[in-house]
Symmetry: C2
Subunit: 339 residues, 2 copies
DNA sequence: AACATATGATAAAACGTTTTGTCAACTTTT
DNA sequence: AAAAGTTGACAAAACGTTTTATCATATGTT
């Protein structure tokens, strides 16, 4: 059987109260000698606190929930790892919830986490799903629960919330600038869904780079993808009869599609077409033609998200914070100077 | 504030006992009319059970723990997704624990999960780590806790345990057979760590295929890798002065290393060298030269693992089961017939 | 009319903690 | 020697459920 605080109290000839006080290092007037005695005893008897009891009594679970669309996606896996590593350091736990982009499933998770007295929720689902109304009501549900939350890559809530973000406008800007500085002028863009805040920002950055070079923006060289490999392929099919020397795929998955799409038309990277991605997926470094891309410090964002959540759980009156991370251009072999 | 069973009881002019009985659909002699009344009231008042209380009272948490080396690894992410999807269907939760291959961290997790009254543990860490003794003592700790566990890809415990496995000997066999049937006779092997049961089995399957063709096995064409991309690269460096027409990398990551290693020596796939991998990583299909490989139904294994765990938690006296899954040869473009 | 049975619901204990106000036994001060 | 202060520890309630034995009341049987 499990050994409880009462068992220890009995063995030591003390009361459960005393044992609890000592084991939690609570300010109290217990003598050093009994403190030592209890700690030794707890060690010897192999005491492990029963978290269900702690949780019930304190309504704290020392657990956070992570809600992501898909854990197989490297981006979310890395984020999860960051969160989880920090939780481990703090002796907290993380419940993983994957929604498969279903707002209904998201709702179920939110309610389930609530029932478990979760101490914080990291929300990594940003997409306004097809059924926007449930998506929105989920945000409201979340806010009404008064549980600390931290959102990634999104800040447009009604009330201020914790968030970890990158300046994607700048990301789009520096990537485009890279291509421009290599001499490219006819640049094709394969974007993310225009409904996403971050996707919009990236594109705005691209446009700003064009402006800074006094170049005219050409909408016909823009293809709206959906961040999938396939949409990268489709993008090239759409672009094939247009004139361009470089492609900016606004995430790496689409860049892979671009690679294969180009090779279908016998165009090689970077000889014929330069390609730049966004995300720095771990694969991008080991492709036959390593991909130039923008790196988001996703792992660090995950860690910071956990830090924010745990801090907010322990100091209920902290104001929401938004932590912004730097993006970095990683130049590899897929982009080259022309002319 | 949260609405409790007592609140509902009060509102209905009944006792908490009655409400609990009804809400859990327990066999009882409560009249249909009160049942309905309670259910309606619970709905209206937005009742959510407090799991901490349930957990404390029943010492059931309706939660399983998943222990993996690294969630960024596609294999484990897919496995996790399988588990998590099934948990979601059953309204259970999954706590994610990533060990980074540290047996100490594994131990901490096992103890933390125990403290949370976890109902089952899916162990996906198979590697006898550097410090074998902790690794082993962790298995014993796990067994001594009398919590249902399900191990993947490993069966050599002291006592029988639940497991989900593939017949890797057969996997090695059919992959090698594929190469042999294409006319290859000088085949190089880049294996996994010989300390791993599954890696050993795969290699045994390769040897059996050779025997079935009455061919002599050549140890000098075997390079022991460690399942990483780099060891695929290193394998080619080791093999470069040997004669071979095909490489069997015993996982896909190493196969990617092989691709790049070969291109370093100006050898192309499959014209000069055929390459076959193992795992069917999602990338293998979208490489410029799509990789022939052996597919493990990892997602299904994850689902089955969850099913086993939940069933074992609900029927404590079930005998351990070992579910075996079929491997499948996926022929793509990286292997070709010669002569 | 007296007893047995069926029906509907409840009282109360228990799960293992945390926490606060209280208490007894010393020690110091007056 | 009485009062005041200090020290060390505890009693008891509370958190929100689940569960079992029990209790009225109503219905049926002889």
């Amino acid at each position: 059987m499990k050994v409880t605080i009462t068992d220890i109290a009995q063995a030591a000839g003390l009361s459960p109260a005393t044992v609890s006080l000592v084991l939690n290092n609570r300010p109290s007037r217990i003598s050093e000698s009994t403190k030592k005695r209890i700690k030794v005893l707890a060690q010897e008897m192999g005491y492990r606190p029963n978290f269900a009891a702690v949780n019930l009594r304190t309504s704290r679970s020392y657990t956070i929930g992570l809600i992501v669309p898909d854990i197989r996606n490297d981006h979310y896996a890395t984020y999860a790892k960051g969160l989880e590593d920090f939780c481990q350091e703090m002796n907290w736990s993380m419940i993983l919830c994957t929604t498969n982009q279903s707002p209904l499933r998201e709702k179920q998770y939110i309610e389930a986490l609530y029932a478990k007295n979760i101490d914080g929720i990291a929300l990594a689902t940003t997409a306004p799903y097809a059924d926007n109304s449930i998506y929105t009501s989920n945000r409201e549900l979340l806010l009404s629960m008064k549980i600390p939350i931290v959102q990634s890559d999104l800040t447009n809530y009604k009330e201020p919330i914790n968030a970890v973000v990158c300046d994607h406008e700048k990301g789009g800007y520096i990537a485009t600038l890279h291509l421009l500085s290599l001499g490219h002028r006819k640049i094709a863009f394969i974007t993310g869904p225009s409904s996403l805040e971050a996707a919009q920002s990236r594109l705005n950055g691209c446009k700003r780079a064009f402006k800074s070079y006094n170049l005219k923006w050409n909408d016909s060289l823009v293809y709206e993808g959906d961040y999938t490999y396939e949409s990268g392929l489709n993008g090239i099919d759409y672009l094939c009869d247009k004139e361009f020397t470089a492609v900016f795929a606004l995430n790496d998955s689409m860049a892979y599609g671009v690679y294969n799409g180009l090779s279908k038309y016998n165009l090689s990277v970077p000889e014929d077409i330069s390609v730049i991605g966004y995300d720095d997926h771990f694969l991008s470094a080991i492709l036959t033609v390593p991909l130039t891309t923008i790196r988001q410090p996703v792992y660090e964002m995950g860690k910071e998200a956990a830090r924010i959540l745990i801090h907010a759980a322990e100091h209920p009156d902290t104001k929401p914070v938004i932590t912004s991370f730097e993006l970095k251009l990683i130049v590899r072999k897929s982009t080259r100077k022309i002319n």
